[in-house]
Symmetry: D3
């Protein structure tokens, strides 16, 4: 039986930490669907199209990875995609607490869907999309933080914002 | 490609919390090998044979679960079993910290093996083999803590110890 | 001497986790005053009247529970009510940290008032008013999350919001 | 209805942190029973008689505090004493995790007994019986760590041990 | 070689906890530069001039402490000031997590600058600028929370806000 | 005024994580004294002479680092060495809790000595002397875990132990 996993997130923008999780998950599951969240409550820096395009760009070498977007309940989206696994990355204890609550809630809503956690590679343990935007805005280098192929795009957008 | 996962532990004795993880992992992976650890440093209450038999007993309804024992490095055992996934259960933040270190170390030793974490069902979040032995020794009920089919065996062993 | 405890919160809306704490606190103290906080800084989904009415509704079977509202310092409100105990529920480490700071600060302001903590029942460890509103908004079921008697009211309000 | 609370521990020896909790609990409950644990698994520095005597000594001014000892399950001891409340002090996150598990387990064994937590006064947040013994053994001052009336007794015992 | 340390923060307003760290850091390093952050993203209660003046006021007795303001990347500011050390205070685990990420990121950006952490005195472990503003706004006493010499100024500003 | 810092520990054996802290501390303070603890309570794998020699070996390129041993209270040792700073490395939250207690206790015993914490480089966040001994004993590679110049010595000792 083919195993499909969903890796949900805002990816605003995708970081090297996200890409590390996607790559490793693609080695474990038959198909990994990166689900970009339409979050009506938060105003992202990059619009949905840009976030999806950047993800497609940096995962083009991973044949079993699909980029998609969704809104509504994550467990409903998994059902629609016939995915039975949710993948989450954990960096630190504060991640753990929040993700613990989400996993228990999702288990309550849909006990047939399993949440599996991967530890983020320790060299990315400090990394988040917010930190990328903050450092870019303040003029710091984004080398090693985001994939080279989206460097110019992120740099330009963040600088537009700063102005 | 068939996916094999190893779920390692001491299982001294197996609890309902362990069984919950085994059952859910068996729904995600093609084969789950429960690897009972020969830990030369700790004196278990149940010997290796007893721990393996109890595990076989309580997982007899799960066709894709195998009970085995191992010593040496976990990652070497995984290679020998052609397993590319290690499954660990997380109950609480203190678990998280220790498991985080182990996962990073195992990743350093064998980057081709992934450690995946499952959250323990919240109704077992207080449960551990040590707690089972402690409560049994003090005369408390083990109902809901361990599977019914091993209740008498665990009860008798713990009471022998108490005498 | 009669012991009066205050259980403060926003209750926007009351969840099964809150109700569990209220019920258990009512078994320990002579009187439990549920103090609904007028928080000028946050815009609640339910107005003060609605929150008080829902609490009265779900605690009507608990004769020693009183629903009230307050603004200003919690310790001043306790003094006014002749309460010497503040009750707080703890779900997780992140709760603990924040509540620890609040308890130490309240102790500094009024050392004659004790803050006592109860662990939330593990089956509600993932539950919060925010999670209820989020799940309701996304169309998920609120069964087991909030008391049945306020189900329709919460469902309707949340759906109004979604539109 | 009179409210009886049990405050369990090893008290090997009692510290100013313990005494702070006992004193504050005595202000909340009608009777506080300090239950000294017979722990067959650990060899205490002070025998049961010494620990009980030191506790009686330092709580002699608190008329509603009783010093007692117990073995077996804490919840059974509470039932025997007609106590419906267990009091525990929390100093830090690591306390919290362990105490959380114990509270959930005790709740599972006896849902009619409530565990209530008090935050240790921040000026004692670094203090434990182990730390007292370690510092005493290394020749450090125990002022502010243990009550003055047991200073000589603890100092002598610890120094005997050091020799 | 003279050692210069930067202690960055918003100081909106400076608390006794900040002053404790500044005073102790001034005992360790040849020069301590308190760097008040121009945070374009948050609207402070006190403007930059007020925050700098209050800091100068309460550190006037510390000859090797300089008050300054900065925007942009902290590590760039350190380089400009020839500072090779960043000082941060830690109160609790949640501080730790965030500061851990910031320290790792700053180390990545500028490995020649070291972040050193001091534990906040336990009597200030509950204290933050936000808590000061909240308590002041609700009419509580700010004694022991902020230095006496800025008491009137903070009190008046907070009350203005309340109106 | 010359600043002397003590970096205390068991160093049984020294790891790359320890060496990272020593090297960075040597860049901040005029002199760093690595204080190897005579811990009467624990039986080390390497005796005091071996631990001191390995440390001297791996720090021979750092002119302002001195290797020494001590027993008794750390703060007394600092006074004897005219050191006013204690350096500790932090890897994770569990380190933080313990080190927080120790720092508060040492501050209570000797308020003129400051404990300063450095975050361990994230690539060593999983590393400890215990983990080195465990992995060596189980036949795993110690590359990147300990300095090359002590590799043979540690390997032989650990294998002796295994036999």
């Amino acid at each position: 039986m083919s195993k499909i996993a969903v890796y949900p997130g805002s990816f605003d923008p995708v970081t090297n930490g996200h890409l590390d999780i996607i790559t490793r998950a693609a080695g474990v599951f038959d198909q990994v669907i990166v689900g970009v969240l339409q979050n009506s409550g938060k105003q992202p820096l990059f619009n949905m199209d840009e976030r999806v395009q950047m993800l497609k760009n940096v995962t083009s070498n991973l044949p079993n990875v699909i980029i998609d977007c969704f809104d509504g309940l994550l467990v409903n989206y998994c059902d629609k995609q016939k995915a039975t696994v949710i993948i989450k990355g954990l960096r630190a204890v504060s991640d753990f607490e929040y993700e613990f609550q989400m996993a228990l809630m999702n288990y309550k809503l849909s006990p047939h869907i399993e949440t599996l956690f991967m530890m983020t590679n320790s060299k990315y343990s400090y990394l988040s999309s917010s930190m990328v935007k903050e450092i870019g805005r303040l003029g710091g280098s984004l080398d090693d933080l985001i994939p080279p192929s989206i460097m110019t795009q992120v740099f330009n957008k963040v600088n537009d914002l700063g102005r």
